[in-house]
Symmetry: C2
Subunit: 396 residues, 2 copies
């Protein structure tokens, strides 16, 4: 008897599950210092203009541009320096015809001045400068609001906060920012064959070291979630049912990976109303989804592929994050073939614009995940790509 | 008088400072659970083979392949099932001629068997299966060491640990891994013009909200360092000297950003033997380096550029990390020009293989950093690139 009656197409399955999930509405206020890498929960509108005042972009002299129009190296114009300020200070003098105020980069423009003469364009003697070249109105001045206008939307909901975004927020006077709550993702690992500690004898008698949990925890973190690990369970229906119910109550999503329990005996159907079970993806076919629970492969490679093709997008739906994947284009170093009817996840190595498919394609080989750094997707209706074709891959 | 006597070329300055720094020798043992995103301090060699035994890749029957060679759908071969195991169990029976052992995916191969017949290729009646097709020796078997051989180098020093790397380590029996200590990076911000809290009146009188510290802290974290913030200091020689000395003692690197103090009066030279001060980069020219201290711009854009062009590479030298930059190729949406003799850092937006240079190129505009997601480098000897040219950009 076959395990699955019908495989549903990858995109169909994906849209079924995305339609089943809603963006989590709740955000939380966090201090800017703790917001790096978080997902912005709302658009940010600037309460002020930045810079808040006209300021000098260089070290030099604030002048009335019209006073300098006649200045030439062979016929300098003389101006009287009435004040000197540095950034952070405000001049109490007004720049009247025939005068100038010395200032440094970032200084607030004094009243009356409309341009800044760079320091090296003037010769100074005592209180007098000789202007060697004319400056145009506005020259070397950064105007108020030039960076950000008051009321301007500066950051958009769904973006991941980077160091420069935090700098902008701080520069606009924010101390906190509203980010999405991290979706909680329960992780349950099942399988009589699994042991959690290294044990030579156990391994020789057919046991396997459990490694799905640490991988899924890391992936959940990478995609803006908070993992909650519920331990490794034996293939015991009662224990699994109980833990699964608890995990569903306590989390936004649940990932349960199973070995034989979900293969031969189709355990999962007894606990969860699945929207689908078994899709066209390869590897990782025997995945089920229903009631916010992903029934995933016991093999790390299968679980990894299922995470990237399904769970990652589900997490993105929950947080509303945009640009969570880095896609790059490269030339295929060799042809790669795929089975018609299967949505293949091909492990590749991307380097300097070249995409090399790995020879290792078995679903039992964790080393194929560590040796690769990206994946290429080949849809069901394609037999593959030729050597030299430009393809898009997703980095991991 | 000009600020700087001589600009040294970007690459020359970079190699001067990289030669001045050494990879930090010390690593630390961390639990796998805490190792995500850390830099591996040494090559990892597998102490065991994985899988540790030959195992079945499918649900089915372990057989002697030669027993099935004559099997056809119209002339099945009969075998007697002498045992049933699931993954994690070991059969006590040997597969003798004419017998089979039922097993599930991942089960250890019983003695005597050399292939697995998929479940759907057999019809079962009581203790007897009728084999409908022949299997070849080794078919549907994953052999011991197929994923990783004993003594094989599986991960390389300098790589950043990803979820799948941790899974492999756990699968091979590791509980801890040796990663590089995070370089400590002291951050000192100076400038009389800076305020740390929003204050309408102060901003109107020429002050600026300090935003370099949070940006540099975030960047240091992104590139595998541990930031230590020493506060915002006024342009006071004594205070700066004292804090700088302390920061040098307590950290692997120090970043000090200065406004006027380091421009007009060239403060920095009095404290530090600089290897260079002023390079050809644009924006961000007035940067100095010496004695593990980076004297950086007071403007966030300048400091950001200096971080990416210099500090990032210095941190990479300290940790020995590889692949710390994501470089992608794209087509320029429009021409971009550059001043000969300057090493330009052009803020761009990379999307779907298209590179759009930002119109905002001023060095006072933090919004130019938040609106861009990558940079394009234009060396000193280039006047720029044409529309449609393929260029490589670095994502941030």
């Amino acid at each position: 008897m076959k395990e699955f009656k019908r495989l549903i197409a990858y995109r169909e399955a994906l849209s079924l599950l995305l339609n089943d999930l809603k963006e989590i509405p709740d955000g939380e206020e966090v201090e800017l210092e703790k917001a790096l890498g978080r997902v912005l929960a709302e658009d940010v509108v600037s309460p002020i203009a930045s810079p808040p005042f006209d300021r000098s972009a260089v070290d030099g002299y604030a002048v009335r541009a019209e006073d300098t129009f006649q200045a030439r190296e062979y016929r300098p114009v003389e101006l009287r320096v009435v004040d000197e300020i540095t950034a952070g200070e405000e001049s109490r003098e007004r720049v009247e015809p025939g005068t100038a105020v010395k200032l440094t980069t970032g200084s607030k423009m004094p009243e009356g001045a409309n341009a800044v003469l760079m320091q090296e364009m003037a010769e100074r003697e005592g209180n007098v400068i000789r202007v060697l070249r004319p400056v145009a109105p506005g020259q070397n001045v950064s105007f108020a609001g030039e960076d950000v206008g008051k009321g301007e939307t500066v950051l958009r909901k769904g973006q991941v906060l980077r160091p420069q975004d935090l700098a902008l927020l701080k520069n606009l006077g924010f101390k906190r920012v509203r980010v999405k709550r991290k979706p909680r993702v329960g992780i349950i690992v099942t399988g009589n064959e699994l042991v959690e500690e290294f044990d030579e004898k156990a391994l020789q008698s057919g046991k396997i070291l459990e490694s799905n949990s640490i991988m899924l925890e890391g992936l959940v973190r990478q995609y803006f979630g908070e993992p909650v690990f519920y331990g490794v369970l034996p293939d015991d229906e009662g224990a699994i049912r109980e833990t699964l119910e608890r995990a569903k109550r306590e989390n936004d999503l649940v990932l349960i990976t199973g070995g034989s329990a979900f293969g031969d005996t189709d355990f999962a159907h007894r606990f969860i109303r699945l929207l689908f079970h078994g899709t066209t993806i390869k590897p990782g076919r025997p995945m089920g989804y229903g009631e916010r629970v992903f029934v995933m492969s016991g093999y790390p490679v299968g679980a990894f592929v299922q995470f990237h093709l399904y769970v990652k997008h589900a997490l993105a739906k929950l947080t509303g994050v945009r640009d969570y994947e880095v896609k790059v284009r490269g030339k295929l170093a060799e042809r790669v073939s795929s089975q018609l009817g299967r949505y293949e996840f091909v492990r590749v190595r991307y380097e300097n614009g070249i995409v090399r498919p790995l020879k290792k394609r078995g679903s039992g080989l964790i080393s194929s995940l560590t040796e690769s750094n990206a994946y290429l997707e080949i849809p069901e209706d394609s037999e593959g790509y030729l050597e030299g074709e430009t393809v898009e891959v997703v980095l991991y």
